[in-house]
């Protein structure tokens, strides 16, 4: 089959020395960052993105994907040993992970997390390999109205699925879109929204500056607020014996693992919903269908296996729509998508045709990164636990310096560093007030695309909005648009339903 041929081609690229090195470094950094409380894959990818400028895009995406994977493994480490989730993707792991540690079974929990993550990753990568080309081909039929409808759907899913307050999600999205318009108008070429005539605005607001500001600086502020004290932690050693015995134990839960992996992959594929909701869903479903459901929450291996295989599967799933349709499946892939645009790669079927080495190199590398990650995560656990000892007072300034340099790199303009700091402050306030950050970054990344496709569609239709809802002329666009409308309306409808029920 053609797909297998492409896969072997991709593996050969992934196995080149530079790409192997990038994958290894990415995995190690990813596990480290994921393990650190407060920092997750999205922060790691955002902060380390500038480093990818020196390498070709294929190596760069391998690096970022390896970080993404590593973080899924690493998040479990602090969840289990400290009861502090390493990232939002690892919150569900604390439910049974920490009780296991308290019972003295931290090693079992850690190994379970690692092996379950590996299984979730492997299954999802295979699914990815076979789903990607057909999906890309489907996207070939897209013209500007369809492209706009897909982007609109992305906004719809963020509005419908993300955050409790739809109004705040809407504000965040609109702010991101607004920021994307700063700079030069794409159609007329005239300067737009150059506030106070500051020259720094002419090159627009760089998505990396926003991402590093919100997810790097803002996150550090948030962590600093939590105080700088150390927490009680559980020491543990992981050797071959523990690994083998846990693997044998896990065979009991193969259904849970399979279910979690498939669930994770499909949830990850949905735009906006990423590893975090996937892990929660997998946990709840496992609890409902388990024969030992009363053990959940008190420390059962199954309670660690379910969320961990799902979050790894979801991160793979999230990359699928990012590459084939240009809509990110998760906040982390939203940042990666921005990187794609920076490298001049347009996601979609063209990417598969014009840059097969990129797509298949990435796919091949996912198998490799997944394997590396499980080895690193399992055998380097003592190192990471030692690293968790490093207090925030050392890490915070270093990370802030890296952020500042990272903010400077894209445009060599100190103004962007000031902007980044401002975004950090905004990010902190937004986090505290429940304004979701991901829609803002997403909107900034997709903003130019949104505007271009909207205006192109309007030109085609001579100014009529109806083109997006025209089932006869553009059935794909119309279906997607109505789906988006439904998603936008969903929170409103559920609010009304809730009120009605309360009145009875």
């Amino acid at each position: 089959m053609e797909i297998l041929g492409n896969l072997f081609y991709g593996l050969s690229i992934a196995l080149s020395p530079e790409n192997l090195l990038m994958a290894l470094i990415g995995v190690v950094l990813g596990v480290a960052i994921g393990a650190m409380p407060g920092l997750g894959s999205v922060n790691g990818v955002a902060i380390l993105l500038p480093i990818t400028y020196a390498v070709p895009p294929t190596s760069a995406i391998i690096f970022l994907a390896a970080i993404y994977y590593g973080a899924m493994y690493g998040g479990a480490i602090s969840s289990i040993t400290l009861n502090i989730p390493g990232a939002s993707t690892a919150v569900a792991t604390t439910f049974d992970g920490y009780p296991l540690a308290q019972k003295g079974r931290a090693a079992d929990a850690l190994v379970t997390a690692g092996v379950a993550s590996f299984i979730g990753g492997t299954i999802s990568i295979v699914l990815f390999t076979f789903f990607a080309p057909p999906l890309a081909e489907f996207a070939l039929r897209f013209g500007p109205p369809e492209e706009f409808a897909v982007v609109f759907l992305a906004y719809g899913t963020f509005a419908g699925l993300g955050g409790e307050n739809p109004l705040k999600t809407l504000i965040a999205t609109m702010m991101g879109l607004l920021m994307s318009t700063v700079g030069t108008d794409i159609v007329s070429g005239s300067p737009r929204l150059i506030f106070f005539n500051i020259p720094g605005f002419y090159h627009g607001i760089n998505f990396l500056v926003l991402a590093i500001g919100l997810y790097g600086v803002g996150e550090i502020f948030y962590i600093l607020e939590g105080g700088l004290q150390a927490r009680e932690r559980y020491q543990t050693k992981v050797g071959i014996r523990e690994i083998v015995s846990t693997v044998i134990d896990l065979w009991k839960y193969k259904v849970t693992l399979l279910r979690g992996s498939f669930l994770g992959f499909f949830v990850g594929m949905l735009p906006a919903a990423g590893a975090t909701p996937a892990s929660f869903m997998s946990y709840s479903i496992a609890k409902r269908f388990s024969k030992e459901s009363n053990q959940f929450g008190k420390g059962t291996i199954e309670g660690v296996a379910a969320p961990e295989c799902a979050n790894n599967a979801a991160s793979t799933g999230a990359m699928l729509p990012m590459l084939t349709l240009g809509i990110p499946g998760s906040p982390t892939t939203a940042v990666m998508l921005g990187a794609l645009y920076v490298w001049g790669l347009i996601p979609g079927p063209r990417l598969f045709i014009e840059n097969p080495e990129f797509v298949w190199g990435l796919t091949g590398s996912l198998y490799i990164a997944n394997t590396m990650a499980v080895l690193v995560a399992l055998f380097a656990i003592p190192i990471f636990i030692w690293m968790l000892r490093m207090p925030m007072t050392i890490l915070a300034p270093i990370i802030l310096v890296v952020c500042a340099v990272g903010g400077f790199s894209p445009t060599q303009d100190m103004f962007d560093v000031y902007l980044m700091f401002i975004f950090g402050v905004i990010g902190y306030f937004f986090r505290k007030l429940d304004y979701p950050l991901a829609p803002m970054v997403l909107a900034l990344v997709l903003g130019n695309l949104t505007e271009r496709t909207f205006r192109q569609s309007m030109i085609i239709s001579h100014g009529s909005i109806g083109i997006f809802f025209d089932f006869s002329g553009h059935p794909i666009a119309a279906t997607l648009m109505w789906l988006s409308v439904a998603l936008f309306a969903a929170p409103l409808i559920s609010l009304i339903l809730r009120r009605k029920r309360a009145h009875f």
């Binding site: 607004l178 607020e225 192109q456």
Partner: protein, 167 residues
């Protein structure tokens, strides 16, 4: 605080809407929407929705934050938390502002040293070594490996000599 931010956003929206009228905001006959169309309606949208958030905060809307907030004494941030942020945040800001004059290397070294020694109360040798290590690390990663020049300010001549010596 929620109301303050919502109010700020409201006025921000109006301000940006005003600024976007510099470019045509209507739908031009042959070209489709004008340049100012999107920013204008987006900022109007932001004002409208933030007004909605304001209203929501008064009638106890869906965010559910008021209930917890009232129970916890309605503190947006504790005094200790605020101070913790400022103790690192203000020096960070100072570092960024100083970068263009004294170069990122000196600025970051001073900043890291300050944070480690004064805020973190770590030992002198530890603080000095990390403070020295960070600029060196950044130099090698960004200037040598990525070949991205970093701001050097008045220290430029020094680095030019070192730069040419390394090649």
């Amino acid at each position: 605080m929620d109301r303050l931010v919502a109010g700020l956003l409201f006025f921000l929206g109006i301000g940006v809407a005003w600024k976007s009228t510099e470019l045509p905001i209507g739908i031009l006959p042959k070209e489709g929407p004008g340049g100012g169309f999107l920013p204008f309606w987006l900022s109007v949208g932001i004002s409208v929705v933030s007004a909605g958030v304001l209203i929501q905060s008064y009638i106890g809307g869906s965010s559910g934050e008021d209930a917890e907030g009232a129970a916890a004494g309605n503190r947006f941030i504790s005094w200790e938390g605020f101070v913790d942020i400022l103790r690192v945040g203000i020096p960070a800001l100072v570092m960024i502002l100083l970068t263009s004059t004294i170069s990122i290397y000196f600025a970051s070294a001073v900043f890291v040293f300050y944070c480690l020694y004064f805020v973190g109360r770590h030992g002198l040798s530890m603080s000095l070594s990390v403070a020295a290590g960070v600029p060196v690390g950044i130099f090698f990663i960004f200037e040598k490996f990525l070949i991205i020049p970093l701001p050097k300010g008045i220290a430029d001549p020094v680095f030019y000599l070192e730069w040419s010596a390394l090649f």
